[in-house]
């Protein structure tokens, strides 16, 4: 393994441009003559549109076009599809109301786009948008997840009586019932998984261009994979042949799941570019991004656990209400169902499990994937409920977990919800984490904190998640005669460092200089196919495809080398970038072979037979100021099992970033819609609290390599882990800190205000 091979923490290829300001993000460099789109959005959470009058706006200076739902209909532009529809548990189809690109007749959340103004300058577009007259007849709105199903709640869709979009279940309800009936104790906890505004630092943006000569459209957009975007936009929305639309993604300033989707602004800009025959650009203002990006999470879940007389958990039952927002987003219903549902057994030996979710409509922004997508919701519910159960039973939560772990000897292990964990050593990671966190010294630290007026708590969470399932990925390698190698792949870097990681895999296996490897992503014209980035699939699946393509390339080159060296292929060895006749010093470098062949090209794909199951233990030590309620994370330790590690520095980056988001969710980030008016109150970075530099502790992170048995590289995927493990670890620590006061649960985010109120209620405030 060379200096740039697998397992090395080498610095990133991407940095050369990103650190010097030469990154190229979607809005870096609109072409000359570009027109600007501005969207008029609903100021009401729920209203009927009586009329829409653009006459005045159309006559404003600089206005080129105004598009409304009517124009789009006339142009044959279809609704935004939801690609993951399910059946209800009774077998009937779910409610699937169409989501028009621009609202017609009704608006259903604050920020719902109603019209687009395209003008010479952003100012002109904005001024004109302000003169569009929309006569709204406001209706009562419902924003609260827990109340959406109430009979008296305002109704959003006629096709979804009671605001119920989908009633879905998995697992064996009967088997669970039996175990509950026989249980020694049943413990039940209801918890809120708070709504998150994704807030990548780069807001969404797009540039649409049209070439009348070829009748082709090009969309430059921050995505998580250009092919999915191309397919849906072309086939479902614009209804044009796929090859008539090229989608390009350049640098992406953070995505976290949210930039996978087709949003209304994209087809509108494309259509505008087509009719105006000019490039059209749109960039979301931060406020727009708050209002009109898809949000994440937003579940209210009741979890019950059956425990036998020996303190063994036998069955788990979870029942969730998941807020989907006002419309079905692209994969909205997938998140609370199939994406996370099968993880409701965690790392424990439950004999039976059942999960039911009722997905509801509300007058809020559509909800879809956010870092972890469904799995954090499951992990939070399981790890909070297990902790809660242990405490209610008077057990030590750590010992209780240990007793109920799936033991390493049981691997591969089939869970009660049907997944097969290929590998994992939960006790080993738990021990490693406890040792690093110096849990032995916790009691002393707690005493010292108490003397200083702070309540110290210890929270442990052992998460497991599922990555890299499903669809294949293809990689194409092009080794040119000059020795430079290009890798074409359909995943999409959003900051994870794919260029570096893939180049490392190639450098490692082909023995080529790291600097000579170029990774090409993000252009449907250059890359034949792809499933994009999401669910931490890029390294496990994309990386495996790269590996296989590399192996094919070597095999092909080996044949050429055999000819050139005049030896039998079977006598040709390959190491460190050179072929040689076994047992001799006659050698030829791969580059020489490629040069002689006038270049080599190979591709291969990888389709995983099974998903991977990264897992790990988080230990959070957190103190609460008894006078003010301010929580502070004193120590944070993580030990993960991601299988084989490609680049430790990239890995640590993924973990740290995930932790920051998980801690943000647990302590800071609170999305508030006014229950009466449905206005988004936390609609700016001033009002919505993203973690800042001094909100986060230093993280102590380590990993244990337990290779994945179903992946050729042995990797498991690491992109989401931090955001999955942190919320339960933090809240378990909060609850531990307050346990002496009879507090059993605290909902996220555990803000100082919420904690102060609790301290006050239980008489724990330091006066």
């Amino acid at each position: 393994m060379g200096q740039f091979g697998l397992g090395q923490a080498i610095t990133r290829k991407e940095d050369a441009r990103l650190i010097t300001g030469r990154g190229r993000f979607t809005d870096d460099g609109p072409p000359p003559g570009c027109a600007h789109a501005v969207f008029l959005r609903s100021p009401h959470a729920h209203a009927r549109i009586r009329s829409l009058d653009c006459t005045r706006a159309l006559s404003m200076p600089g206005v080129l076009a105004i598009l409304t739902g009517a124009e789009l209909d006339a142009a044959g532009i279809g609704p935004l599809p939801c690609t993951t529809l399910y059946e209800n548990r009774d077998g009937t189809p779910m409610a699937a109301p169409e989501r028009p690109v621009l609202a017609r007749e009704r608006v259903r959340f604050v920020g719902d786009p109603v019209a687009a103004v395209i003008a010479e300058t952003p100012h002109a577009a904005r001024d004109a948008a302000e003169t569009i007259l929309v006569d709204y007849d406001p209706l009562a709105a419902i924003v609260d997840t827990g109340r959406a199903l109430d009979p008296e709640a305002p109704q959003i869709w006629p096709e979804a009586p009671g605001n119920l979009a989908l009633d879905w279940e998995t697992g064996d309800a009967e088997a669970v019932d039996r175990r509950f009936a026989a249980a020694h104790r049943v413990l039940e906890l209801t918890l809120v998984n708070n709504r998150i505004v994704v807030n990548p630092m780069e807001t969404r943006a797009c540039l649409a261009e049209y070439d009348p000569g070829t009748d082709r459209l090009t969309l430059t957009v921050g995505s998580q994979g250009v092919h999915g975007m191309q397919r849906i936009l072309a086939e479902k929305v614009l209804r044009i042949p796929r090859e008539k639309l090229r989608v390009v993604t350049r640098d992406v300033g953070g995505a976290f799941g949210m930039k996978i989707f087709v949003f209304p602004e994209y087809p509108v800009c494309l259509h505008a570019a087509r009719i105006l025959r000019r490039p059209v650009r749109w960039v979301a203002e931060r406020t727009e991004s708050f209002l009109a990006d898809t949000h994440g999470r937003d579940h209210v879940t009741t979890v019950s656990i059956a425990v036998d007389a020996d303190g063994r958990m036998t069955a788990i039952r979870a029942s969730a209400i998941a807020n989907l927002g006002a419309y079905l987003s692209q994969v909205g219903p997938f998140i609370p169902t199939e994406c996370g549902a099968y993880m409701y057994t965690g790392v424990y030996r439950f004999e039976a499990a059942h999960y039911r979710v009722r997905c509801v409509f509300t007058n809020t922004a559509p909800v879809d994937a956010y870092r972890g997508a469904g799995r954090p919701e499951a992990a939070y519910a399981v790890e909070r409920a297990v902790d809660f159960a242990a405490r209610e039973l008077g057990c030590d939560p750590i010992a209780f977990r240990r007793r109920n772990f799936v033991p390493p000897a049981a691997m591969p292990y089939r869970t009660a919800l049907g997944y097969t964990y290929d590998s994992g050593d939960f006790p080993r990671l738990l021990d490693a984490a406890l040792a690093r966190a110096d849990v032995a010294g916790f009691a002393g630290r707690r005493q010292a904190a108490a003397a200083a007026g702070r309540l110290l708590g210890l929270g442990v969470a052992y998460y497991i998640e599922r990555c890299a399932g499903g669809s294949p990925e293809e990689a194409r390698l092009e080794l040119r005669p000059d020795g430079r190698l290009r890798l074409y792949i359909g995943t999409q870097n959003n900051g994870q460092g794919h260029e570096t990681a893939y180049a490392q895999i190639v450098a490692d296996r082909l023995g080529l200089p790291f600097a000579d490897i170029e990774v090409v992503q993000g252009d449907t014209d250059l890359v034949a196919s792809g499933r994009g980035t999401g669910g931490s699939r890029s390294i496990p699946i994309g990386g495996a495809a790269v590996l296989r393509a590399g192996e094919r390339l070597v095999a092909r080159a080996r044949e050429r080398a055999a000819e050139m060296l005049e030896a039998a292929t079977t006598d040709i060895g390959f190491a460190e970038g050179s072929f040689f006749i076994l047992g001799t010093d006659r050698r030829l470098s791969l580059v020489e072979v490629a040069a002689a062949a006038g270049g080599l090209e190979e591709s291969d794909s990888f389709q995983p037979e099974a998903p991977t199951f990264p897992n790990g233990c988080h230990v959070c030590e957190l103190s609460i100021d008894r006078a003010t309620g301010v929580p502070r994370i004193e120590r944070y330790t993580v030990v993960d099992d991601f299988g084989v590690v490609v680049n430790p520095a990239l890995l640590a980056g993924q973990v740290h970033g995930g932790l920051a988001q998980g801690i943000g969710q647990a302590l800071l980030e609170r999305t508030v819609y006014d229950p009466e008016s449905g206005q988004l109150l936390s609609g700016s970075l001033m009002d919505y609290v993203l973690p800042r530099a001094d909100d986060l502790p230093a993280f102590d992170f380590d990993w244990v390599v337990i290779p994945c048995r179903t992946n050729p590289l042995g990797v498991k995927g690491a992109g989401e882990a931090g955001a999955i493990g942190a919320p339960p670890a933090v809240i378990n620590a909060v609850v531990d800190a307050l346990a002496g006061y009879g507090i059993h649960h605290v909902d996220m985010p555990a803000t100082p205000h919420r904690l102060w109120r609790l301290l006050e209620r239980v008489g724990a405030l330091l006066a």
Binding site: D15, G23, M201, R286, V672
Partner: protein, 488 residues
């Protein structure tokens, strides 16, 4: 009148005749200069993705400040040097120590926030001495990153000095820039604009006064941290604009013997240490206004003149007994600061008049001064309630009391009934409790999304008690000390 705006971008001089007065530096960089390294993450001063450095010659050396390009109007660069992320690499293409430290620490992921962090760190790098006293996390409170969890960026900040070897390429050629910028200091009023929309930047107070009489409807700007948001968020395009930042008399902070005269255009940054020397608590709260970038731009004059009920410096200065000096033409008048605020959105400022300075005297031997900023988040947040108290004790009795609050009324306001409940009485718990009760009659706060009326009132009351609790120890110590000195 000078009709051309002059500044240096990186190493190249720029002279512009036609300028949209509210064109932001960010738009200018991205759209006109095609310098697209500087990013827009919010256009309201919250995220720092747009951080750039603005430098001025001060006593023969360049003095740089990190600022938010998204709310800074281009003509405010007059006579300055603007540095962006594109300027940091050496001419031979090698990375700057700050950038190298970022790479080595793996401090960039998606890279969108990165140029802003690089520039915020570069400001720290240039301010070595000064900045050492500030914790790095506080220095970076104005920069958001959604990817890295900040640890690696903090590490880069630690590492960058170690990576450095001597002066960087920008420092090495600084004399040239200083000479050029000094040669541009002409004392002329800058007047640039476009299609009749004008931006004026007078260089002396007389010209400012005259301009304002000529254009009584002009919008004055200090740091434009409020007015910038009118443009980027409310999409207003006020004009003409008159910028006070070049008016030498207004940017000064002068010693008056028993206190300070703070020019209306002095920034928080300029004022911080001086005011903190008089009233340490003032330093503590000013350090929490906005972020480093905002404090480098925002002025005390702007914070007062905007008349906001939740601005932090008005209650702070009212409690300190500050007086406001207003000027129209050659005529000045001074009013107690509290009387400047007439009603919500209405101040005692006449057409053609401007705020010249705020004059504040220092504490006396028996002065107790406390200021509290209550916001949901420690850094970079607007106050729900702000309270500042100046209590002068005369041998255990309260000789005078000034209790000023923000966020409790439509204007920053003194709690007169509570003050009356204190004066003449001993500084004791009972007295304070009586004053707390009186606060209920002084104020009828409102509910809004920042805080409920009940919360505001409870906090207002409790802050007074907190002040008493904190003071009892301190005052005793101070009085004892005074007694010792008298005895000796």
């Amino acid at each position: 009148m000078r009709r051309r705006l002059r500044f240096v971008l990186g190493s190249e001089p720029r002279e512009l005749g036609e300028v949209e007065p509210t064109l932001t530096v960010l738009e200018y960089l991205r759209r006109i200069e095609h310098r697209r390294g500087t990013k827009e993450g919010c256009a309201e001063g919250d995220c720092g993705a747009c951080t750039v450095l603005v430098g001025r010659p001060v006593e023969g050396r360049m003095c740089y400040r990190a600022v938010n390009a998204c709310i800074l109007f281009l003509p405010m660069l007059d006579g300055c040097r603007l540095l962006t992320v594109e300027d940091l690499r050496a001419p031979d293409g090698s990375l700057h120590p700050v950038q190298r430290a970022m790479v080595e620490a793996h401090a960039s992921q998606c890279g969108f926030c990165t140029p802003g962090f690089v520039m915020a760190l570069y400001a720290l790098y240039r301010e070595r001495g000064v900045a050492r006293e500030t914790p790095i996390a506080e220095w970076l409170a104005g920069n958001l990153c959604r990817c890295t969890g900040y640890g690696p960026i903090l590490e880069a900040a630690q590492r960058m000095h170690a990576v450095a070897q001597g002066a960087d390429h920008l420092e090495a050629r600084e004399a040239e820039t200083v000479a050029r910028l000094e040669s541009w200091q002409d004392g002329e009023t800058l007047a640039v604009g476009r299609e009749g929309r004008m931006f004026f930047a007078p260089a002396d107070i007389g010209s400012l006064a005259r301009l304002l009489i000529e254009h009584p409807d002009a919008t004055l700007i200090g740091g434009a941290t409020d007015v910038g948001l009118w443009v980027t968020k409310q999409h207003r395009r006020p004009h003409p604009l008159i910028w006070t930042g070049r008016v030498a008399e207004l940017t000064r902070v002068e010693d008056t013997g028993d206190g300070l005269s703070i020019g209306a255009a002095a920034t928080y940054r300029d004022v911080l240490d001086r005011l903190a020397a008089l009233y340490p608590d003032a330093g503590r709260v000013i350090r929490r206004i906005g972020s480093v970038q905002i404090r480098n731009l925002g002025t005390i004059g702007g914070n007062i003149a905007n008349g906001s009920p939740i601005g932090d410096s008005p209650p702070l200065l009212i409690a300190a007994g500050a007086r406001l000096r207003l000027r129209r033409g050659n005529r000045c008048r001074e009013v107690p600061l509290e009387s400047f605020f007439l009603d919500y959105g209405r101040q005692d400022r006449r057409p053609g008049e401007f705020v010249e300075a705020v004059v504040v005297s220092g504490p006396g031997p028996g002065t107790l001064f406390r200021a509290y900023k209550i916001s949901k988040r420690f850094d970079q947040d607007i106050s729900s309630v702000f309270a500042a108290f100046r209590i002068d004790l005369d041998g255990g009795r309260i000789a005078s009391a000034r209790l000023a609050y923000g966020g409790m009324a439509p204007v920053p306001k003194r709690a007169e009934l509570a003050e009356a409940a204190l004066v003449g009485r001993p500084w004791k718990r009972q007295t304070v409790e009586a004053a707390m009760a009186a606060l209920e009659r002084d104020f009828t706060p409102i509910d809004d999304w920042r805080a409920s009326a009940g919360y505001r009132m409870t906090v207002a009351r409790n802050l007074l008690m907190k002040c008493w609790l904190e003071s009892s120890g301190e005052i005793r110590r101070r009085l004892d000390l005074a007694a010792e000195v008298a005895d000796g």
